[in-house]
Amino acid sequence: MKRRLTTILLTLALLLAVGWGLWERTNRLTLANAVEAGGQRDFYNLLSYVEQAQVSMGKSLASSSPRQQAVHLTEAWNQAAAAQLSLSQLPTPGIKPINTSKFLSQTSDYSNYLAQKLARGEEITPQEREQLVRLRDEMKRLAADLRQAESQVASKNLRWSSFYSVQMPQPLKTIARLAVPAEARPGPLDGFVNADRRLQTLPSLNYDGPFSDHLEKPRPLGLKGSEIAQAEAERRAQAFANDASGSNYRVQATRTSNGLLPTFALNLIDNRRANVTVHIDVSKQGGEIISLLNTRPVGSPTLDAAKALERARAFLEAHGFANMQPTYTVRTGNSQVITFAAKEGDVILYPDQVKVKVALDNGEITGWDATPYYMAHYDRQLPEPKLTPAEARAKISPGLKVEGVRLALIPLPGGIERLTYEVKTKLDDTYYLSYINAVTGEEEKVLQIIDVPGGQLTM
């Protein structure tokens, strides 16, 4: 009797274990199928967008009217961008096809640049056409490589979901390899690796767009003078921190940083308040204060936004930024972040920005970011505006209500700057900023002002 009960219980346990295993297996397979479907979708999307982009680029080369060319280039722009998105979401472990990704982004951006050029009524130069031909040929070769990978995918040699399975432990792997020697056959992802290697060697592509190669490593234009010593950087950081907090700091640690803007990065500790630290970056060249971050928690506010602005402006003036115009202010938590732009005469220089963060509990400066200023600022020769403000106003489409006009230097894609009239307009309940070139009268750019809670544009 007892033995029979033992048998029944053990059988029950076995059945439960088997049932559980089967259930887990079904779950796993369902998930694997979902992942496989995702991988397949991204792969076939990639393949078809690359083919389509190649065709669109070809059509734009074949068509004779600028209008048709612009249409096909716009298609190519979208198709290449969609291909890049699909590629980036494809699970390709161990290899990062960043060159392919860059190629697709650049081709997309370049097609957009050409389409916009045509839309402005300009012509494509022979060199630009040549570059387009070159990019189309590369797109063709990429399509061919992907088609080769497709045959592997179709013959199930390549399963995207398999890349997610847990790796065998190393000793087991070694035993498995000894037992079954690996065949020398092409790996499933070789097509990607080869294409990526080839695309790495493309000549650089320069044009007026955000992904142009000449913009990959911008140099800080606003730094002057020679390289400073670490001790000097520490002295300047300390003085700046003391002034920002009205307190007394000591340097805790200094390291160097070799980013686009090489700096000494310092951590400072407040001598008077416990657990208050400040992080400051001082540029190696010229020893300018690039950034400050104070991490103390900010208590409930006693200042309003106007007081904070006053405080930030006074702090800027005390540090040699005399003629600055506040352009935007946003409240994050109990702090107010105010963006200032430099002014030259009555022209606002939007590229030369400094952000100041003010703690609303006691008016302490808890943040400073002059990176845009030192990256962009230089002694410019601004052109004389050929249009009057009234003429700029007249360029605005009639349905819009004009609320203000002022001169502004704005950055455009490709590292270009243009002197414009900034015209603030209102359509229904939405505000827009239209930028009318002050020399040619062309509309260069339109911005829509998006309301963020606590954010405010200051005019």
Binding site: W20, S88, Q89, T256, L260, A265
Partner: protein, 163 residues
């Protein structure tokens, strides 16, 4: 009573363990509290992007100094602006194997989001302690050897940042 018999202890235990394991599994499948991206509940003022970025920062750099947290947020934003990566914050964060915490699910389990949310806000406001980094990794953990071919900018806390 049969059940107190010594011989029965092991089978009974086995059955009990299996049943409770199955029940627990079932419970976990059904309820997944706080583990869904839509149930973020992060106490920050603006924007879904802050939520997303704060979660990633908390999962990737929760124990890092503040500027290290801002730096991780800045890397995501630098990637958004780079032709090498997707052009949206969610695209960058959910790129397969781009971030360990997304692969192992830590991003859904983080709870302390106060400081990471502030760091995310600073990063979105433009602060970038790395000045253009696109990659970061922890040198004490195994990483793909490929990553060391990038040009290193600096080290903040436990993370190396590179371009």
């Amino acid at each position: 009573m049969y059940f107190f018999h010594r011989r029965l202890i092991i089978p009974v235990l086995l059955v009990v363990i299996l049943i409770s394991a199955a029940l627990w599994q079932f419970y976990r499948q059904g309820h997944n509290p706080g583990a869904l991206p839509t149930q973020a509940g992060v106490p920050v003022a603006v924007g879904d992007e802050i939520n997303l970025l704060a979660r990633l920062i908390a999962a990737e750099a929760g124990n890092e100094p503040y500027e290290g947290q801002v730096a991780v947020g800045a890397v995501v934003l630098n990637r958004v602006r780079s032709p090498l990566f997707p052009s949206t914050i969610s695209g960058v964060i959910y790129e397969p194997w781009a971030f360990e915490s997304v692969a192992n699910g830590l991003i859904w389990r983080v709870t302390n989001l106060a400081l990471p949310a502030a760091a995310a806000a600073d990063a979105l406001n433009g602060w970038d302690p790395t000045y253009g980094a696109l990659f970061f990794w922890n040198p004490s953990k195994p990483v793909s050897p490929w990553i060391w071919t990038r040009s290193i900018i600096t080290q903040i806390g436990a993370h190396v940042f590179a371009r």
